[in-house]
Assembly symmetry: C2
Homo-oligomer: 282 residues x 2
Amino acid sequence: MASFGERLAGVLDSRGPLCLGIDPHAFLLAEWGLSDDAAGLRELSLRAVDAAAGVIGVVKPQIAFFERHGAAGYSVLEEVFAAARAAGLLAIADVKRGDVGSTVAAYGEAWLTTGSPLEADAMTIVAYQGLGSLSDPIERAVAYGKGLFVLAATSNPEAAATQTAEVTTGEFAGRSVAAGIVSGVEHLNANAARLGSVGVVLGATVRLADYGIAGAELTRTPILAPGFGEQGANLRDLPALFGAVRNNVVANVGRSVLRAGASGIRDELILRSHEVRQAVSL
Amino acid sequence: MASFGERLAGVLDSRGPLCLGIDPHAFLLAEWGLSDDAAGLRELSLRAVDAAAGVIGVVKPQIAFFERHGAAGYSVLEEVFAAARAAGLLAIADVKRGDVGSTVAAYGEAWLTTGSPLEADAMTIVAYQGLGSLSDPIERAVAYGKGLFVLAATSNPEAAATQTAEVTTGEFAGRSVAAGIVSGVEHLNANAARLGSVGVVLGATVRLADYGIAGAELTRTPILAPGFGEQGANLRDLPALFGAVRNNVVANVGRSVLRAGASGIRDELILRSHEVRQAVSL
């Protein structure tokens, strides 16, 4: 069985870094002429998967917009993951779950188990309760060929005070919270040939130096980078932003592409994918 | 409309601090003789609500154990919230959601909107992306008479390095991450007569002094305290742990009570509730 890191590396090399964030905001459902219910959610999400198929390699449903619709939203989500799998896309569940270890284990079971109703290829996860709290889903990811992306330095400006806070005890004393996470994650990937299966989230809108994060700490670590498009970062700047690890980056675009509507989304993805592939010389 | 803080204060005064964590672990389903599927989940959870009704005032479903069962688990969860409401219990959705502001807004809509399928009385939430990222659900909670509990110092030991990290910029520079959250939250509650509607999570297993948190910063802030029972803290120690703000505490017990099984859970709740009410002199 191929690891998630191997599968992701294959996708990045063959299809480029672009990832479509499937973020069915209420305002997007309205712009698409859809109802703000499970039926509208289903239509937007499955059209987004169709548009991505064969053009890019990764999609990232944002679970909050499914959760808004309760159990009916989760039924749609099960369909969306199945459709993405059938289309040969890698699907990252953007859930940002986190808790004590025995509870996080259940979240790992939910999203990273082969054959589970919500099976995805990877999930985003939060280490506010410590990287050590995530050991069960990390082991699960390795066992099932699945992946994780741990939040490190996120794209929103309100996050900086927490993520630049200085750790005072333990292995990462003297470093920022975000840098400690990056360093701990890279350590988990030490044996990977190219990319390991545990990634980090680093916003394209942040300067890594502000967090004391060096590119050399990310050699084998997949990077999920939100912040392109409406949040302000430009796909053409990906190499400048991520330097030597530019080829580890999954570059997410969401609203800026989904606004093109059902008829325009595929062309928009083709253009954006071309733009970012040129930037990283693929 | 009564605020969540007012409703919670009424419940704490009349029924005491005990909260039943509805944590349907796979091992508990097995111990109860139930199948590890949505039917077993439904049976355990609804029996737990029945046992709590009239004995205590608050229940806290842990969403990870519903999410394990996908959309079917979320259907059960909708029933559990409705049953809790019908039984006059306050229900805290233990979801620990967090994200950038525009996404967190959707989580707030999911859990804190009157009439939504997953409507709860309050939800737990994570500020890894900054307390500022939570402004939309905070406004929503106030508008709908709902509440929030923001993770501050959690009960698991792996969390300490992150939560004691020292903030270096902004309003809370010089304080720990957890203390900054506590201080920011108390500020939100400044106008409450007794308790405001935005609480914090403080584990009963931690020493607040280790985080630089003073009790006086929590005068009007509800405190959700996990860590009693199997995680090691003793209900009788609640006054020693929380001092002057002992009457702001929602004391959660989960596995240690659920293990009593369908036939024993109500008696176990009566005993534990008596124990903690005596401790806080109610």
